[in-house]
Assembly symmetry: C2
Homo-oligomer: 335 residues x 2
């Protein structure tokens, strides 16, 4: 069996270009013991992938030049193997390609009747769990507190705001453009503001009259600059992503405000805590599956997907993700 | 009765000058109900006082122009009041003056036989408790981990390093000049390095071969810049003070490295947490008194005081404190 795959051809400098990738069709090896041959149905695109294209030190090893880009996938089992039958649908980590051979021990069988298959890559998968674990473990929103989240129509941000409301907190969402802002209002956010609006800082101030108790950090940059002065005493900042800087090729101009940031941490007794969801997975994922499924079932959590057709559109869709061009969880329908 | 007091005459710009203060002798009011008339024996000088001279937003209200500078004091009761007899020695908050009238409900009676009176301002007082609560609650050092602390011969830093060793961690102290470094070795720090040495960064690297798990932040600036890249995955940074920047009048030149700091927090899953000891006082100060007294008694924690004679030398001594000129807990012997 063959796979059509997108490999990293060179390390992007700034925004990834088409030349940084190569699309190629090759033969897959025969699956060995403990492996399964899979056909990709859905591929998840997530901001963390920009980090894997770079060899800067990070929490995960970079993708090597010539290797297939990594990514979570929902796939159909083609050939029976130890634990799976042909036709079974599984969550795996097949990467940017149309078929894969994967170790079966990392595969999770999905029930197509329980929830739409693509949700395993979004609200019921890694992004949903990122929101759940980071918000509840680090953010710890209390009733009546104000929780602010940016990239709020994305799969992480929208879950953060809605879970905050489940916990009795006030949810303030930040997004780019009036359509996304309107969607946040639909989702029941207590306030929704547009970071592209010229009066963004004033809008933020008006939306957070009692300051900010939890800021769930997805984006960094200008949004963080606007939120930071509004953080209350003992505010918590789970740092989940900094997508606004992922394509940066140099540090911004001065003055150097890193000391000012430390000063704010000191005078406001802030907690700023970076995390990757895998830290909390072993202890919390079962509770997450139960909680999130029930919140979806009773309408407390809604979700939105932005599905792109065809593997050949992956690179373009990924570039859009870093600019906020997607609207909802970005997924490539591969076959 | 009269008091000679040092009042804030103007808000310092940069390093405080003599002109920012006025020394004056005035009549004290008669103590009313629930008040005591006190003669100051010892006045504590601490870096946080620089913040109180400024009206920038902070965790505590500034000292107003014309008001006596604040500070913890050990004093002798002059006139009997509800709970105290003349001659009793108490810990209070009399400020930079020779006598005071204070509300008795904030006074704590000291036992002159239990420990030298001045220790109530240092190792057994606020600085010791700052080290204890910040290190154990936020830093959470585990056996075999590496704890780094700067201003390590000061009352907070020296306690941090020694408590880290009590808990089985490796203590690395940073101080300015060979005398202070030699003292850290005497105290039993596992490594001691001089931030004024031209090869400071190399020394730090050699002293932390396994990276840094806890950095107790007292100083900021160049020391933080050197430590930050050595922080391990899941490292904890209790932010207690940033004395190197307290006299700063403008932000340092660029580039702006605040985003780089957020990036490091993300990729290393760091916890950076500002605190003021008062947050932990209600729940922890009794345990602190027991632990610290026993560690001093059995020689696990030693302390050093730098005692300046005479209230008239207070401003000069305080300026020295911000430059690291003191060697041990800085205390003014007032009478």
């Amino acid at each position: 069996m063959q796979t059509t795959r997108i490999v990293l051809a060179s390390r992007p400098v700034g925004e990834p270009t088409d030349d940084d990738f190569r699309i190629e069709t090759v033969d897959l090896p025969q699956p060995g013991d403990g492996q399964a041959l899979l056909q990709t149905l859905f591929l998840s695109l997530d901001p963390y992938m920009r980090g894997r294209m770079s060899d800067a030190p990070s929490y995960a090893a970079p993708v090597e030049i010539g290797q297939t880009m990594v990514g979570a996938t929902v796939s159909r089992v083609v050939e029976a193997s130890d634990r799976f039958q042909p036709g079974d649908v599984v969550l795996g980590y097949g990467g940017w390609q149309s078929a894969s051979v994967e170790s079966t021990k990392h595969l999770v069988k999905l029930d197509p009747d329980a929830a739409p298959l693509s949700t395993a890559l979004g609200v019921l998968g890694m992004p949903g769990f990122t929101a759940y674990s980071g918000l509840l473990t680090i953010g710890q929103p209390k009733e009546g507190e104000t929780v602010v989240v940016a990239a709020a129509t994305g799969p992480v941000g929208s879950a953060v705001g809605q879970i905050a409301r489940v916990k009795g907190a006030r949810a303030v969402g930040i997004a780019g453009g009036p359509k996304k802002v309107a969607y946040l209002n639909e989702l029941g956010f207590d306030a929704a503001i547009d970071h592209r609006a010229p009066d963004f800082r004033d809008q933020l101030k008006a939306a957070t009259p009692d300051g900010v108790d939890v800021y769930f950090e997805n984006v960094g940059g200008a949004v963080w600059d606007a939120v930071a002065p509004r953080l209350n005493l003992y505010a918590r900042v789970p740092v989940c992503g900094l997508v606004s800087s992922y394509n940066a090729t140099s540090l911004p101009e001065g003055p150097d405000r890193s000391g000012q940031l430390m000063g704010r941490i000191l005078t406001k007794s802030l907690t700023i805590r970076g995390f990757i969801q895998s830290e909390f997975w072993p202890s919390q994922h079962e509770q997450f599956q139960r909680d999130m499924s029930s919140w979806i079932a009773d309408g407390q959590v809604a979700y939105r997907e932005d599905i792109v057709e065809g593997l050949e559109n992956t690179v373009d869709a990924f570039r859009g993700l870093l600019r906020g061009a997607n609207f909802g969880k970005l997924i490539v329908k591969v076959s």
